[in-house]
Symmetry: C2
Subunit: 353 residues, 2 copies
Amino acid sequence: MAAAVSTDGQGQEVPNRRVILKRYVTGFPSEDDMEVVTGTARLDVPPGSAAMVVKNLYVSCDPYMRGRMTKHDRPSYVPDFVEGEALVNYGVCKVIASGHPDFKLSDLVWGMTGWEEYTFVPKPESFFKVNHPELPLSYYTGVLGMAGLTAWAGFFDVGKPKKGDYVFVSAASGAVGQLVGQFAKLTDCYVVGSAGSDEKVNLLKSKFGFDEAFNYKKEQDLDAALRRYFPEGIDIYFENVGGRTLEAVLSNMRTHGRIPTCGMISQYNLEEPEGVHNLGEIIVKRVRMEGFLVFEYYGQYHKFEQEMAGYLKEGKINYVEDIANGLEKAPAALIGLFTGRNVGKQLVAIARE
Amino acid sequence: MAAAVSTDGQGQEVPNRRVILKRYVTGFPSEDDMEVVTGTARLDVPPGSAAMVVKNLYVSCDPYMRGRMTKHDRPSYVPDFVEGEALVNYGVCKVIASGHPDFKLSDLVWGMTGWEEYTFVPKPESFFKVNHPELPLSYYTGVLGMAGLTAWAGFFDVGKPKKGDYVFVSAASGAVGQLVGQFAKLTDCYVVGSAGSDEKVNLLKSKFGFDEAFNYKKEQDLDAALRRYFPEGIDIYFENVGGRTLEAVLSNMRTHGRIPTCGMISQYNLEEPEGVHNLGEIIVKRVRMEGFLVFEYYGQYHKFEQEMAGYLKEGKINYVEDIANGLEKAPAALIGLFTGRNVGKQLVAIARE
């Protein structure tokens, strides 16, 4: 399996371990749908090219990746993975070769990279520089990266919170949920989170400052649980899970409630997604349900990064990561998102700097 | 059944035929759930009172009334009807007694009134005056009243149309749908409507200027039909029906599409509403689905009335009514909304002026 290492006039060829998608997935994915193999990588860029080569340090595990593991008939907002090739997702990297004027050797950057040791990046323009290396580098896979910007854009821009709003967050201890809850508290909202274990529920209250939290697996009747926590109803539901949770929430929305719709993780692995039967509530309560995708907010990333770095340094935002060490652990880490195994933001450490 | 007519110092008591709700309804309503009975009415108001008595000329039949025929555990945005009492809904009336400074004898008004010959109105403030008696009076049950304001607010304020948008309207020949389609054409949009008979489909194209129209009952695969009419996808879906139609539409929405959510008539009579299984499309396409209720737009009614009266007089908006003559026909007219029997806006003529 180990590739020969050779050096020629144009640079060095080295072994490159990578996590590939073995086959497209239907239903619940398993570790066996992926495989860790060793290929090779060149550590240089062709003369005159504006490409770069990065060494991958941390890669993020995100629920939306499930969609990319299935072959789609119609193109979606993000391409399907390619069978036999490395998975790709947001990661933090070090530049080890660059022909691009904006990126130089040893720069720390984050962007869409491969689940492998080294990645050739033909268009580095899509990468962001790491402007706060004084904070943990891994944070750029989450709180200072995609998940952070997602929570910030979804809560503030789509959710339009007001002081005193009643806010409910599902998947609340995950990468995005834990931040939404804290943004809600910074906005003087009342916020309740749901999660899938008592450990996570405890974390929500003790670490992230949620006013209340509950283990949805212990609730026979989610509608009744929500009525208990929100006797006045819900102004903002930050939607991460979909299905039956959404149905219970719709019955408990307040007039002019907002549902920033970020993800529906409970549905991604179902061959037949659950139906939502009470969308009439959207009319009766005059609810706005609005989907968003983080890449439309990239233009505001630097504003966000500065604001979030400030919160982190002042201790106004706490952040919990669940780090899998080594590419070999990456398939299990990804699958774990769908069983709720992770506590906090799941990522994979490929290499230390 | 006929009541004695008496006159005393305070005024006249006359027979008053009315349509009452015999019993609360579950599932599909029938004419038998209502009954035409004769009570009495006084044609005066107590001295010093600011109430009025109106003679009802036309009352509107609207799908939302189905909700009021069921007893609800939790209060909704509009009260349930009361067993044994007359149904109430928007109607056009003539003032025959008034203690209110804004309303005088013989004024033509429209507002929430009873399904009966005469109605005592304790709070006339909720009524609007008819400012354009040169147009058919019955129009104030629809195009110049609630349905018109609904179409106008939902399309323009919630839908936020732009020139060139691709617009789909369900229940398109109904009171609201026919107007939405014509607003879309006035905005230089491409508009397709669906309806439940070939006669209605023909009306959409010949009378209301829809670019295309189809009979949804003849389409085996609604998703395929929408792909045929909207190869580029749908920017605005004006939602009147819900259920399977909504599901098919979601698969065909364009990025940043809007769904002004006005009603879900296909679901009102189902004991268990249909589930919608593909709400994930809201995320992928970044769709905004937003419910609205007309009464939040009452403040803009006069602006709307003036604009709409202008369109009607200039022939820019066509309007088709389906008039049932006499209170005896009112129960069948209301039930007919749910079988799609009406062609155009359904109303009941109780008395000519």
